[in-house]
Structures are given as structure tokens and as C-alpha cells.
Symmetry: C2
Subunit: 145 residues, 2 copies
């Protein structure tokens, strides 16, 4: 006698999201960095120049949300905004002074967190998780419902 699958799925997504945020916050409790701030810093370690809208897409956030996150990272000296010369509407985000020493460490900390999510799972289980999520994503995006 289970609840309907849609309700179960919605509830699991919320729960997983909450646990992931909790763990990410814990991983950076010594710094003052928040989960989305960490993710921006992580992404900048892999690609040293990102447009605001690239960050929004990668994180599934609205541009306005990302703009606020960047304000706070910029005011603390973690990133800088650089106007593109080719297209002056575009703003490139780059690492700044506060990351000179610690960027590699922050990147590794997030990478460890991400690796930890599936630690202990064998390949079959990992595939089951990824497949399940991709299937769900595709269903959500395709119904015009």
C-alpha cells in the first residue's frame, strides 16, 4: 500500500536535495562559503572564464539568482567580473585574489564531496541512479502538461 509514485518521487527529490545541501555545507563549515558559492568556485577551477548565463544553466538557476551570488563572491574578493570586449552585454566571471592560494583546495573539497555521493556503490547501482534520474528529467521536460 504505497503512495502514488509521483508523490513519492517529488518527496524523494526534496529529501535528496536537502541532504546534499546539508553535506555540502558541512564540507565547507570552516570557510564562510555557501553551497552555491562553492559550486561557482568549483566550476571556475575547471574553466577559468564563465559567462553569467553559463553558470545559470549549469546550476539550473535564474540569472537573477546567480547575479546575487556573484555580488557576494565579488565583494569578498573571490571572483571578478570582466566585461567582454567582443560583446559588451556579456560579463565574464573569473577567479580573483582570494582564490590565489586556495582554489585547488576548494576544488578538491567539492570534488571529494561529489565522489562521495556514490562511494560504495558498484557500477550497476550507479547506473541505476543515473538512469532513473535521466528518465525522470526527460519525462518532466517532455510533458507539456
Amino acid at each position: 500500500m504505497k503512495k502514488n509514485p509521483g508523490a513519492e518521487i517529488a518527496s524523494l527529490i526534496k529529501e535528496i536535495n536537502a541532504v546534499m545541501n546539508y553535506r555540502l555545507r558541512e564540507a565547507f563549515k570552516d570557510s564562510q562559503l555557501t553551497p552555491p558559492q562553492m559550486m561557482v568556485i568549483f566550476m571556475l577551477a575547471e574553466e577559468t572564464q564563465l559567462k553569467v548565463s553559463d553558470i545559470s544553466k549549469k546550476m539550473s538557476l535564474a540569472n537573477s539568482t546567480v547575479s546575487g551570488i556573484l555580488d557576494r563572491l565579488e565583494s569578498q574578493g573571490y571572483i571578478k567580473r570582466v566585461r567582454s570586449n567582443a560583446d559588451k552585454r556579456v560579463v565574464y566571471i573569473e577567479p580573483a585574489e582570494q582564490l590565489n592560494d586556495l582554489h585547488a583546495f576548494y576544488h578538491q573539497t567539492v570534488a571529494n564531496f561529489l565522489a562521495n555521493i556514490v562511494e560504495g556503490a558498484d557500477e550497476k547501482q550507479v547506473n541505476k541512479m543515473v538512469d532513473g534520474l535521466q528518465t525522470l528529467r526527460d519525462f518532466l521536460k517532455n510533458d507539456e502538461g
Copy 2:
């Protein structure tokens, strides 16, 4: 050449969560209700008395977050707070006047949204999604990190 599975999973969770919120907002665009407000109203249609902490657990939110959501629902007359006599620390949440006429309709709208998540999926696909999510949830909760 895929990115590591932890990163893929984290990204999918964010994406799915964003799409679900977007659709829920769309389903209630005529009312002024927000997604968490709708979920509280939905839950109150299935159980007419809920403790604040019951709501927090079911929605995977902090009590302080729920308290704020309830403030706004209460001030608009959707719910009321009733102190328990048996234990005066406890606050029960119940539907109020603004739900007299529309509670069943709101419940049905959320139920439709939830049903729609898996609409068009056959049983095997639904099981794959639910299993994948449950496996992920269990891994996240069991590593001590």
C-alpha cells in the same frame, strides 16, 4: 567521455527540482500560492491536523522555514494554528476559512500535478525512477561522509 557520476547526479537533482518547482508554480499561477504553500494545503486536505514538525519532516524543510510559510498562509486565512492541550509546546495546523470552498479543488490540482510527473511512463520506467531515487537517498544517508 562523461563527467563523473557524482557531478552528473548532483546536476540532475538540481535540474529536476527546478523543473518541478516551475511546473508547480505554473499549475497555480491564477492563485497567489507558492509551491511550498500549495504542498501544505495539499497535505491538510489528506490529514486535517498536522503538527509543524510533521510538515517539516514531510517536506524536508527546517522548522524555522515552515514557520514562516505558515505565517503567510495564516495571515491570508488559509490555515490556523491551534495549541495542543495535551502538550502546550505543540501547535496543530488546520485548514481555515479561505479553504472552505476551494480545498478540494486545490488538492486535486496538486494531485494532478503529481500524477503528471510519471504520466506516459510504463510501470517498468516508474520503478526505475523510484528505485534509482531510493538507492541514491540511501547512499547519501548512510555514508558518514
